[in-house]
């Protein structure tokens, strides 16, 4: 099929403003959107810059806005999106170049919840699937408007330990999440749950953390 990729470009070393480039080429409907981006980079324009690694939805490198929705470029097929495909970087993070965003704040929020086992079933099983792709945090309007909001991904990571009966670090974690820019910034918009390529019930997990904080305080 003939496809047109409209791709967000930002090349700060050669041009001040961001713009869109269009690329038209033939692709198979069973090709991944990432295959299309690789085709552009390898054969049409080597300056196109994006992160990618495993190419099958495990590593979390290539979360992008694809036709306005946060998806992993390697986990969505061209045939499922259509012949006109608009590619943008994740929203709410500073763009470094083209589709590459600055992930430092995302990972520092992650680090702030003691994301490790502090001291042995399954209330936390769902949240262990998180691949840190940032699709949730960058789909969240609360995170867009307030970059200090810890964001859904960090809460998911905290949830994984809070509900693991072997762990003994939850008091401190709940204190961090109970702060102003912690879990309460969540307005249950459910964008995170829709965005998650691993289908984690994020909004539900956030709700469980909120309950745990309230129970902890009372």
């Amino acid at each position: 099929m003939r496809v047109t990729f409209k791709v967000y470009r930002y090349q700060p070393e050669t041009r001040e403003d961001a713009y869109f480039d269009s690329f038209e080429f033939n692709a198979e409907p069973t090709d991944r959107v990432l295959d299309g981006l690789n085709h552009i980079k390898w054969h049409l324009d080597g300056t196109l810059t994006l992160r990618r690694s495993c190419q099958h939805g495990i590593c979390g490198s290539d979360a992008l806005r694809i036709n306005g929705v946060n998806r992993l470029a390697c986990k969505v097929l061209i045939g499922d999106v259509g012949s006109k495909i608009k590619i943008e970087p994740l929203m709410g993070f500073t763009v470094i170049k083209d589709l590459v965003v600055d992930m430092d704040r995302f990972f520092s929020h992650y680090r702030s919840v003691m994301p490790y086992f502090v001291n042995d079933e399954a209330p936390y099983d769902d949240t262990t699937k998180c691949i840190l792709c940032a699709a949730c945090t960058t789909s969240c309007p609360s995170a867009w408007s307030n970059p200090d909001f810890i964001g859904p991904a960090a809460i998911v990571q905290a949830h994984r330990f809070i509900f693991d009966s072997r762990d003994e670090g939850s008091e401190e974690r709940l204190a961090t999440l109970g702060q102003r820019d912690g879990v309460w910034r969540c307005r249950t918009v459910f964008n995170c749950t829709r965005a998650c390529p691993k289908e984690i019930q994020i909004t539900k997990a956030i709700g469980e953390v909120k309950k745990a904080i309230v129970a902890d305080r009372s």
Binding site: T14, T47, S53, H56, I58, I96, F117, I131, L132
Partner: protein, 582 residues
């Protein structure tokens, strides 16, 4: 690349997958050592995360007897007797302990009803020295590698390991038989950083990107391997490269052996369970090399599905519950990429380039060993980029994860010990000079006429897939050798598109392409040199294993564009080589 930054650490870890992070955690636990981890990716993007089915340990949790000696025997036999038995003993003895250690770090293993770590069957793992399949693979559903990677990254944070994310190592400072550090490109800025150290460990993973159909990430380009090869350190057993039997057709995405471990069956066009012919005892759970060859033979005989180059992996008899609970990622891959439901339809599969048994030669503590058996001071290698050798001519499923954590831990301990007694050695006047020149030259080609790196990669990948894969002959390998030399010359004339400094992945792709062609050359020359068939190295013109002449490891060192080949003996302690049947 105008400004050069300098850093000094006691120990440096290059690569942040399972092996590198385990070493880093152990370095950090020893205390009073400054340790840095350099990775060209964010650590959680590392390829350990894609490992699915399990980690082998003789726990005997499933009501079946199991012993590390049986695991050792299976590994030795799986290696076609080329694995070093002293090292295999260390690995199989220590694996139960390391699995419990991971559990104590919080790794959420799947459980039996009474709360023990659950175990499943995997290819080549047996009870009582080859008698019958045994449940030895400990797992977290089908995301075992993901949980190991996450858990070890979490532990690294807990132990305050210092990370340099998206720093790509582009040169090693090896002089007079010692390693004094590394030069890395900060991808975000395009600036070079010199990292001086007493001890440095390479944990950079494999080089599956050399082949067209591969389970490996695009970032698995063998950086650590070609970097040491350029500095006169040999590579060991590079002719042994594993093709995993079950990759998704055309894409190469891995379908875990755990599917067959749970009862999945390979079928040809006529619906026959063909593995009964090739491995009457273990059938679909024979060793990977055996199963991959069987699939190729079926395809050649015209029994591929509709006569095409693939067969079916039939998991329909497993039932929805087993598939959804024990193999959820596999089900997701099938639905996403193939548009099929594995509960009701068979999965189209073909062998996929998966794992390097060969690599940087080391001792059992990860210490790198040179051509004459001399140690390269301060240089260590672990994980897929290393060759201890525990996998010999063919690796068993689950043993890669065992290898990562056992030898990652041992290297961490050994490096800490080494650092305490070692001084920081001088790094020369302009340690970044060589790397700067190489990268500036490449950057200066931006926008000029020249070869396209992606086109060179495409040709190399197709050539390696056709000529240097499951079945090999003198004719195919000789042809590959000539064509690879042409590709190497063309790689010298690569011109890139992107002239910018920050986040120039066009530049790093081109740089990696040159390294990959070098590794493809070494692999091909070693395969041409070994005139026997053993494990994954199957020569149709030399179909038999030849212990008299070839029960030895290959060492290849690059000299002026050609490989100079030497050998070293195989350690044989408990199990004398005998015929290998499954």
């Amino acid at each position: 690349m105008t400004r050069i930054h300098e850093h000094t650490f006691d120990a440096i870890v290059v690569g942040a997958g399972g092996a590198g992070l385990m070493a880093a955690v152990y370095l950090a636990k020893q205390g009073n050592l400054r340790t840095a981890v350099l990775s060209k990716l964010y650590p959680t993007r590392s390829h350990t995360g894609t490992a699915q089915g399990g980690i082998g340990a003789a726990l005997g949790n499933m009501g079946e007897e199991d012993h590390w000696e049986w695991h050792m025997f299976d590994t030795v036999k799986g290696s076609d007797y080329l694995g070093d038995q002293d090292a295999i003993e260390v690995m199989c003895r220590e694996s139960p302990e390391v699995v419990y250690e991971l559990e104590h770090m919080g790794l959420p293993f799947s459980r039996t009803e009474d709360g023990r770590i659950a175990q499943r069957r995997f290819g080549g793992h047996t009870s009582n020295f080859g008698e019958a399949p045994v449940r030895r693979a400990c797992y977290s559903a089908d995301r075992t590698g993901h949980m190991i990677l996450q858990t070890l990254y979490q532990q690294s944070i807990k132990h305050d390991v210092e990370f340099f994310d998206e720093f790509q190592v582009v040169d090693l400072l090896i002089e007079d038989g010692s390693c004094r550090g590394a030069v890395a490109l900060n991808i975000a800025t395009g600036e070079l950083h010199v990292f001086r150290s007493k001890a440095l460990v390479l944990a950079t993973g494999g080089y599956g990107q050399v082949w067209e159909i591969t389970s490996n990430a695009v970032t698995l380009t063998g950086d650590g391997m070609f970097l040491v090869a350029r500095r006169g350190v040999p590579l060991e057993d590079m002719e042994f490269y594993q093709f995993h039997p079950t990759g998704i057709r055309r894409m190469g995405i891995l379908i875990t052996e755990g599917v067959r471990g749970e009862g999945g069956i390979l079928r040809n066009h006529d619906g026959e369970r063909f593995m009964e012919l090739y491995a009457p005892n273990l059938k679909d759970l024979a060793s990977r090399d055996v199963v991959s060859r069987a699939i190729y033979k079926e395809i050649r005989a015209g029994r591929g599905i509709n006569g095409e180059r693939y067969v079916h992996l039939d998991a329909t008899q497993l039932g929805a519950e087993v598939i959804e609970n024990k193999l959820p990622e596999i089900a997701d891959f099938c639905r996403t990429y193939l548009g099929i439901d594995p509960v009701t339809e068979p999965i189209p599969i073909q062998p996929t380039a998966h794992y390097a048994m060969g690599g940087i030669p080391t001792d059992v503590d990860g210490g790198v060993v040179g051509m004459q058996g001399e140690s390269v001071r301060g240089l260590y290698a672990i994980g897929e980029c290393a060759c201890v050798s525990v996998h010999g001519a063919n690796r068993l499923g689950t043993n890669s994860l065992v290898d990562l954590v056992v030898f990652g831990r041992r290297a961490g301990v050994a490096m800490a010990e080494y650092c305490r007694g070692a001084d920081l050695e001088p790094a020369g006047e302009d340690p970044a000079g060589r790397a700067r020149e190489e990268l500036e030259d490449l950057l200066s080609t931006a926008g000029k006429d020249g070869e396209n790196a992606a086109e060179i990669r495409r040709e190399m990948k197709e050539l390696m897939m056709d000529n240097v894969s499951v079945f090999r002959t003198d004719e195919l390998l000789s042809e590959a050798k000539v064509k690879l030399e042409e590709l190497r010359e063309r790689a010298d004339r690569i011109a890139i598109d992107d002239p910018s400094r920050a986040f120039n992945l066009d530049l790093t792709d081109a740089w990696e392409t040159r390294g990959m062609v070098e590794l493809a050359q070494i692999t091909t020359e070693c395969a041409l040199n070994r005139t026997e068939s053993r494990g994954a190295h199957s020569r149709e013109d030399y179909p038999d294993r030849d212990d008299e002449n070839w029960l030895k490891h290959t060492l290849a060192v690059s000299r002026n564009g050609a490989s100079e080949i030497g050998y070293k003996p195989v350690s044989i302690t408990r199990f004398e080589p005998k015929e290998r049947v499954y």
